[in-house]
């Protein structure tokens, strides 16, 4: 059996296994069925991940899998871009399925396990199929499978708030999907459901305006799915509402599928775009990064913080992609390649650490029965093993060495600094803005992640739930350690991984210049890690040898008065300086004065609220949009007056109108 056939069969096994897992989950009534379903999902996805990984070593640009002629004639197949995203989907699904075995069992009172397992597997199937399908019809079909499955998963706990969030999500995602469909139709020049190759053919002959308009529609479609800022409103509502392993998949993987769609369109379907398109992507990317990270810093809910951090990371990735587009339009091939490689690398890293962090959040919420960071604390004492994994994942997410995310950002910044000299004034200005914003975002991201870890895990427990939390079961911690090690491995092996992901290698750019390899050669992560580790060991040994005192446990230094957990710094207090420094963006405090005596306006009781959870300005903008829509629908209601003649007249008018347009 050659490598190609084994890859293909691996992928088929993976798809079948996922489908089977869904069926087993739906049909089985016992706890055993749940376990079998999840183990099946984990195993089949692991096989899929291995197959996708093997594809990178098979020296072939495209691997056709199967020709479909039933619904939409196309050939399912893998190329490097889809293999990468297929790898992300399967790898992360495998780990989350492992986590779900124990997690869902303990939450059986909250969720309907049968439907949860069934829909979760379908969700994974949808995400697996999207990168495999090179045709508009198939793409949209599986895109919708993914969207609708996740819609049901968001309201899995059947609470009112969840249902509301789910419908917000559904609205946004369907708006996005319709924009995608419109964009594809526009590009296809009226062809119904073309193949991607045919679509690219059509696009090559289309006028510039059409291309730009189609790009805008597609960017909105993919951007709203990826949670870019003006369209992000659903993300911090919907992601935290789902069960944690689903949140992990939604944040870690589903957003990447949106990125995949965007990359597929921009790099393969559309002809080279003008600079303005890249600038739009860059602008929205930076805006999402900045606002996402600021909200991640000030938010108090553990899962919402992570959701905002996802907005930030997707913003960074889109910044990288946008800069790569600009560089390509300006003929700076080095920066274009570096930024794109960094974007892909960061996407992989974000999938790893965000999946891990959401799983951590799930374990914490299960242990402490609290969603708010304010009601946690002291977990490092009660669940030490778990916090080691959590701490490493949080460090990975704050893009600190020696974890992978750092090297992605490092290469991006290196690319910017290296090309600052070249290009015109305007390009230099853009690069400067991008550099400044990205370093600011990465600085604040450290704050957000430190807040998340420190407030949840350090200090004394601030609620009975946190005080009685126990070390999570080994089945819950093992996937977290696997992800933490993976995040570290991504850092140590980053030169190798980056050169695998380099656009030249992925088949995006025709040239085979060793740009990425040259860039990564400037810094050896392995040397850095070894040096750090060696210094750490020597430090510990020397201090142990030199230290001749004893060690004694005592109460915490309390300034003479007993301290309790109520005096600790909470998430609100911890982020207070940033909230204050960025108050023009965060708009954070309202003081309400209610008169104590109704007749006397001077004696008032004042209460202050710190808003951490809503971005008020966007809510206002969306409020206006909603009001206009309601007004329009109220006007449209007038058409429904129940008079048959009137309807006939309308039909006649519509006919005339369409004839006029057709002619």
């Amino acid at each position: 059996m050659t490598l190609h056939t084994s890859i293909a069969s691996g992928i088929f096994v993976c798809l079948l296994g996922t489908l089977l897992s869904s069926l087993v989950g739906a049909c089985g009534r016992s706890a055993g069925a749940h376990r079998i379903s999840q183990i099946l999902l984990a195993l089949s996805n692991a096989i899929g991940a291995l197959a996708a990984l093997a594809f990178f070593f098979a020296d072939t640009p495209v691997l056709p899998l199967i020709h479909l002629s039933l619904l939409f004639p196309t050939t399912l197949g893998l190329d490097h871009l889809s293999a990468l995203f297929f790898l992300i989907v399967t790898g992360m699904s495998s780990v989350t399925a492992l986590f779900a075995i124990h997690y869902v069992e303990s939450e059986r009172d909250t969720y309907n396990v049968r439907s949860l397992d069934c829909i979760a597997a379908l969700f994974v199937l949808g995400m697996q199929m999207v990168p495999l399908t090179p045709s508009v019809a198939g793409f949209m079909l599986f895109w919708e499978v993914m969207s609708i499955a996740s819609f049901f998963l968001v309201m899995a706990d059947r609470k009112d708030a969840s249902i509301k969030a789910a419908f917000l999500y559904l609205t946004m995602t369907q708006l996005g999907a319709s924009a995608l469909l419109a964009g594809f139709f526009l590009l296809g020049d009226g062809t119904i459901f073309p193949d991607f190759a045919a679509l690219a053919q059509h696009a090559r002959t289309a006028s510039d305006d059409t291309i730009l308009f189609a790009f805008a529609l597609l960017f909105f479609g993919f951007g709203s799915k990826a949670g870019l800022v003006p369209f992000h409103l659903w993300l911090p509502e919907a992601h935290p509402r789902a069960p944690s392993h689903i949140s992990a998949l939604m944040s870690g993987v589903m957003l990447k599928i949106a990125l995949y769609g965007f990359l597929r369109t921009v790099l393969f379907l559309l002809p080279p775009l003008p600079v303005i398109a890249g600038m739009a992507v860059l602008a929205l990317g930076l805006l999402s990064g900045l606002l996402g990270v600021l909200h991640a810093v000030v938010d108090r809910d553990i899962k919402r913080t992570l959701a905002f951090s996802s907005i930030e990371n997707l913003g960074l990735i889109f910044t990288m992609v946008g800069l790569s587009m600009i560089a390509r339009a300006n003929g700076l091939s080095v920066l274009a390649e570096l930024a794109l490689a960094a974007a892909l690398f960061h996407a992989v890293n974000h999938a790893i650490f965000k999946t891990g962090l959401f799983l951590c959040a799930g374990a914490i919420v299960q242990g402490t029965h609290a969603h708010s960071l304010e009601a946690m604390g002291g977990l490092a004492k009660t669940m030490p093993r778990f916090t080691v994994a959590f701490c490493s994942l949080a460090l990975a997410a704050s893009a600190l060495p020696p974890f992978g995310a750092f090297f992605g950002e490092w290469m991006f910044l290196e690319g910017i600094v290296g090309t600052l000299k070249e290009g015109g004034m305007m390009l230099q200005g853009l690069l400067l803005v991008a550099l400044a914003a990205v370093v600011l975002i990465s600085g604040l991201a450290i704050f957000a992640m430190v807040k998340l870890f420190a407030i949840a895990c350090l200090g004394a427990p601030r609620s009975p739930g946190a005080a009685h939390a126990k070390e999570p079961a080994a089945l819950l911690t093992a996937p977290l350690f696997a992800l933490a090690i993976l995040a570290l491995g991504m850092g140590l092996l980053s030169p190798a991984v980056l050169s695998f992901l380099s656009p030249a290698h992925v088949g995006i750019v025709a040239s085979r210049l060793p740009t990425v390899a040259v860039a990564t050669g400037r810094l050896s992560p392995l040397t850095a890690f070894l040096a750090l580790a060696a210094i750490l060991l020597v430090c510990i040994m020397l201090v142990r040898m030199a230290w001749s005192g004893r060690r004694r446990l005592s109460h915490v230094w309390d300034c003479g008065q007993e301290v309790n957990a109520g005096m600790e710094y909470t998430a609100t207090a911890f982020s207070a300086p940033i909230r204050f420094f960025f108050r023009f963006l965060l708009h954070h405090k309202t003081v309400v004065a209610t008169p104590v005596v109704p007749t006397n306006p001077w004696i008032v009781r004042q209460s202050m609220t710190v808003h951490a959870d809503t971005s008020i300005r966007f809510a206002t903008i969306y409020g206006y949009v909603a009001r206009i829509l309601l007004w329009l629908s109220a006007q449209a209601k007038r058409l429904q007056n129940g008079i048959v003649q009137f309807y006939l007249l309308l039909m006649f008018l519509a006919l005339v109108l369409s004839l006029i347009i057709a002619v």
């Binding site: 005192g549 004893r550 004694r552 005592s554 109460h555 230094w557 309390d558 003479g560 008065q561």
Partner: protein, 177 residues
């Protein structure tokens, strides 16, 4: 312009620090040092050449605190003897406890002592801290510092002058002539 005059003062300002012998030689009879324990502690602290002091208020009238504050000024300048005040008992090598220990502050004194790492010299500063002073046997007072935590050095006076305190400490350490 302002900066220039500031710099002139910084560079050419007068030195007001009292000469060292004023504190290292002279009468120290009034200072009471308990046991050989303190010798052992001082030996382990490299003779107290770098000594961090934590001032603990055990219910004093603030007279002693006022004198302790004087120790850090340019005139007495305890820093030249390697001493400085610490922000936490965890950093301290010496506790200066003032005042008769009141019932409200008994817990605070004990807690400070427990928080300080050993070896740690405890100095009772002022009559109140040494014996209870004029508040002895009051219902609001637990007693001298001794009755709460072990004391190594007592510096009497109500309040003792900064010179007394410094002499007492230096006498106890007796590291340099």
């Amino acid at each position: 312009m302002y900066l220039l005059s500031l710099w002139r003062r910084l560079f050419f300002g007068i030195r007001v620090t009292m000469p060292r012998p004023v504190f290292t030689r002279g009468h120290t009879e009034h200072c009471e040092i308990v046991g050989a324990e303190i010798r052992e502690i001082v030996r382990r602290l490299y003779g107290g050449r770098a000594l961090q002091i934590r001032a603990v208020d055990g219910g004093s009238t603030n007279a002693e605190e006022s004198e302790l504050t004087m120790l850090g000024n340019a005139y007495y300048d305890i820093e030249r003897f390697g001493m400085s005040f610490a922000a936490s008992p965890r950093h301290a090598d010496m506790l200066l406890v003032t005042g008769p220990v009141t019932r409200n502050l008994e817990q605070a004194v004990r807690s400070s002592y427990e928080s300080a790492p050993q070896p740690c010299i405890v100095v009772a500063v002022g009559d109140g801290a040494c014996t209870g002073g004029i508040w002895k046997d009051s219902y609001a007072v637990v007693g001298p510092v001794e009755s709460v935590i072990p004391v190594h050095v007592k510096i009497p006076g109500d309040p003792p002058t900064p010179t007394d305190i410094l002499r007492g400490i230096l006498h106890a350490l007796r590291t340099r002539p």
